[in-house]
């Protein structure tokens, strides 16, 4: 067995994943208790010993009750379906109290980041009765795209007197994939890009095609596709789905390279994502080339997710693959997004016939 592993196991054996530390009030309390103990010993006043004993026992009761309160808990994290950098999202936390009789009071749950420190937001449960489950969520914003790892959850409580904060770390590793931030895409750019494939675009065209069916609303769906009658009947939002139109394929190309400053590149990534989603909403088949990554053109929600995932992980310093004929042939037109100062440069066209849109 490797020494590190042995050390880790030994540490886990001797130091269970429970911690407690005194709160500010607790530090004062302990100070007063010691002072009172000294006064009792110094003065030999027996009734002060009684008061001293009371303070000591309340401190012990604090520890025992907080331990009892935190036993038998099951905690689960409910990841949001999509997270965009810079946009707030709700992280669901559910806690089940498996104890037979004792409710859990005043419980805080925090996500632990990769460095083992809790994130800046937390969930609070005032009371979880025995054999009950409660769910709540905290609102958080991830500042940048990419993978944000979570190692676990920290359950902590200051119940019952607020003198000690007892916490318990639960292993629950998860990777949050933050998609690029979405930016508004100017209509002229979109219209100009689509004109390259010989179509005059209108908003209605995005929802054109044969009616395919109904499904529940997902993030990114155009609210204009909501089928209000079904939504009212089912109590949940439903949208119409259309058969995709063939022959309208757009390839979004994101130029990468070490020469682009990071901030400009991030804007370009966001713009590429926004452009791709806008096209998908208009029922186009959209593909993506970003660095060495290639997402073949396709339509629908899952395609949008694939493109976002690819853009979330794209490395800005990788050499660009622009100019590779293998993917250029797959598209009827190409939108090339190049990082630039202020606003990325957008070019549209087919093969070498590119026209700058922005």
């Amino acid at each position: 067995m490797p020494p590190a592993s042995l050390r880790a196991r030994l540490r886990r054996w001797f130091r269970p994943p429970r911690h407690f530390r005194l709160t500010r009030e607790g530090r004062w309390y302990v100070g007063v208790t010691l002072l009172l103990g000294f006064a009792a010993v110094n003065g030999g006043i027996n009734l002060l010993f009684l008061m001293f004993g009371m303070l000591l026992c309340l401190l012990v009761a604090n520890g025992v009750l907080s331990e009892a309160s935190m036993r038998g808990l099951e905690v689960h994290r409910q990841l949001p379906p999509a997270i965009h950098a810079g946009s707030p999202f709700l992280m669901g936390i559910s806690v089940r109290n498996g104890k037979a009789r004792i409710p859990t009071f005043s419980l805080e749950v925090e996500d632990l980041a990769k460095d083992g420190k809790p994130v800046d937001r937390r969930c609070f449960f005032l009371k979880i009765p025995a054999h009950r489950q409660q769910e709540t969520s905290y609102r958080r914003t991830l500042p940048r795209r990419g993978i944000h790892g979570l190692t676990g959850l920290r359950l902590s409580t200051r119940f019952p007197f607020g003198l000690l904060r007892r916490s318990l770390d639960v292993e629950a590793p998860a990777d949050l994939l933050a998609y690029p931030a979405l930016l508004p895409v100017a209509d002229p750019i979109l219209a100009g890009g689509l004109a390259q494939i010989g179509e005059k675009q209108s908003p209605a065209r995005a929802r054109s095609g044969d009616f395919h069916g109904l499904r529940e609303l997902r993030p990114g769906d155009d609210p204009r596709d909501i089928h209000w009658r079904t939504t009212a009947r089912r109590g949940r939002p439903f949208v119409r789905e259309f058969e995709e139109e063939t022959g309208r394929t757009v390839l979004v190309v994101l130029e990468t390279g070490a020469e682009f400053p990071a901030e400009e590149f991030e804007t370009a990534v966001s713009y590429a994502a926004s452009l791709a989603l806008a096209l998908l909403r208009r029922a186009y088949r959209v593909g993506l080339v970003a660095g060495r990554s290639f997402v073949p053109p396709d339509a629908g929600l899952m395609q949008g997710r694939d493109i976002l995932r690819c853009l979330a992980l794209v490395d800005g310093t990788a050499p660009s693959e622009v100019g590779q004929p293998s993917w250029a042939a797959a598209a009827s037109t190409t939108l090339i997004v190049t990082p630039g100062t202020g606003h990325p440069r957008i070019e549209a066209g087919k093969d070498k016939n590119l026209r700058r849109l922005a």
Partner: protein, 758 residues
Amino acid sequence: MRFRFAHKLGTFLLAGTSLGTLATSDVLPNLTLALVALFFPVSWYADPETPLGRFFERMTSWLNVAILVFLASAVFQVARSFPDVDLLPFLNFVHFLVVLKLCQRRSNRDYLQVYVLSFLVMLAAAWLATSVVFVVGFVLYVLLATWTLVLFHLRREIEDNYIVRHASESHAEQVTASRVLNSRRVVGLPFFAATGLVAVLVMLGSSLVFATVPRVGLGFILGGVRRPVGIAGFTDEVKLGMQGTISTDNQTVVLRAQVPAVTAIPDRAKRESVIASLYWRGTVYDTYDKGQWSRSREDRTRTRIAAVTTSRDLSRAYLLHDPFEIRTRTGRRAAVQGAIEQQVEIVALSHPVAFALDRPLLFEMPPPPTGAFTAVDLEARWSDEVSLRMYRVNPANPFERRQAMTEFLGARYRVFSRNTSTSRTEGLYLGQEQLPAGALDNYLRVPETLATNVAALAQEVTAGKPTAAAKAEAVVEWLRRTHGYTTNLKRDERIADPLEDFLFVQSAGHCEYFASAAAILLRLSGVPTRYVNGFLGGEWNDMRGAITVRENRAHSWTEAYLGTDGWVRVDATPALRRPARMGNVRQLLDSLELFWGRWVVEYSASQQLLLAQRLGQKLGFRGRGYLPGRGPKPLSRKQALVVTAVVLLAIVLVSQRKRLLRWRRRYETAAARQRTAKPVVRIYQTTLARLSAAGAPRLPSETPHEYLARLKQRPLQGEPVFSDLTDAYAGARYGDIEVPPEAVARLRRDSAQIGLPQ
């Protein structure tokens, strides 16, 4: 119960309990108590949203000024009381703050301040408490503190997390702090029952801490004094009419005594009659001037005491000698042998008076408690009087006195007093004329300012009485005939000396006047006298077989030197009839007070050792003081090792029971899985183990097919076989699809090919 109401109620009850507990210590002035009683209920209606609450909010600035003025005044008063610091102004200030904070409670900080102030009040009550009533307040305080602190914490958490989301059923619902605070679902009867149980455990724990923390009595800073109860009449000077007014309402216990001779009396009426006639001798005075008795403090009248250390329990015995007594060893021994024994306990008293039944012969002071830094010893005074004195001692040698202390906290000792029914004093004293000239001058001195008609009255009353005893009888008879007994004293201020006023103007007085009048009239007729303060009678407590003497039994009498009979008690006060037996309730309270005093207030290291010894004996341990030949045999070394090992093993098993159970469950689950696993599953798991050992483990998040896809991206030997195996495994594991035996046999055979190239 609504959460907000429960918290408010708990806060008020907590504050009220602490204030009430302190009020029982009788140290607060009536004005403070009245103001608190007035404003405390008012503060209940001063919620922030009420007009009264808004009024207090508007007055915040003025009230802050009032706080500063009050604080400055308290500091000034305390500073002025130096060196005898009187902290009463601070207590008044704390009471003011408690009520003010209750009126101004708006935020959690205000509530927290109320709790801190209540704790300070409770500390003061603990410091000043002399009564068992404190324990009732303490129990209530612990219970309410547990409830209230939990509620306060929850309230603070609710307000800190102002908006919370509850989604217990399906959809998230935003609720505000106000709505939660008004909810009835947060706390209920089970909550109060559970926290009440916690409070009971806290109380038990407090008692355990109280009993076990060593009483080492360091006395670094404060000296460790308790506030004693001051009783008038036992100071260095006693002024007629100014103190010692006897009130039947004054129930303060001064001393408790166990007298075996009284306990042995079977007949209740006879016993009560005997108790009613017990004279508890305290202080003695020989000088009278302008209505005031004092001591002349001359060496020739100083009491002689001889100290003897007894080997029995290292207590120290003191034999008393009257300076006028003929000192014969046999006479004194004979007197002590037939003496009345008493176990006296002086309850916290400001004056160190060594009370004993009239006339004490021998005091036996117990050794100081183990580890104590103070001890009480006997000190000689004058006119056959002794007093108690507290000393700082060396804990290593309790008999090494280091420094006399001015404080006195009460004491417990044994006394032997002369039994007048069996011991005669005849022959123990010389006649007055046989004593050296001037030996009794102190007891014959009469102030020159006394009017001549007092001397004339004395001559008139004792005319024709040849002996001192006859004169004493005549004076007593005259006083009882001409004066009645009253505690409602009248005084003619035109007459300077209150004694003259009593003799010639007033027709009634109390014992101080009768005793003073008898003493002065006898002196004027040539009989030496001295004035004695003490107590008369007591109340019998059946429950513990002891006599309790309260302050309302204070009494004064005269001692006259009647020649060879020596000093004889002359009580001129008309007989009073007072109950000599307590009611049942009072007996119970008195017994509780006694237990409280001995085992709580005066709990010491000696009692700790005693308890430990008793516990050790119960558990079968042999220790010092353990009687040989009794109890179980001690363990041998081998047995002790076995017991220790068993205890350690039990501790490990109990502390690690969850881990052990988890191991066992894991083992059983694995074994069961192995037993019930289908053959293809076992083949797949064996292959996985081999691949893992080769450096390609399956990640916990990977499905079998994702794992297969990942492996396909790198060179893999037997890839088609592993692909078939994965399909078969997924079907068998998740789809419950049976794999034909021949296919299993083929997979088992071919799976050996699967591996990573070296």
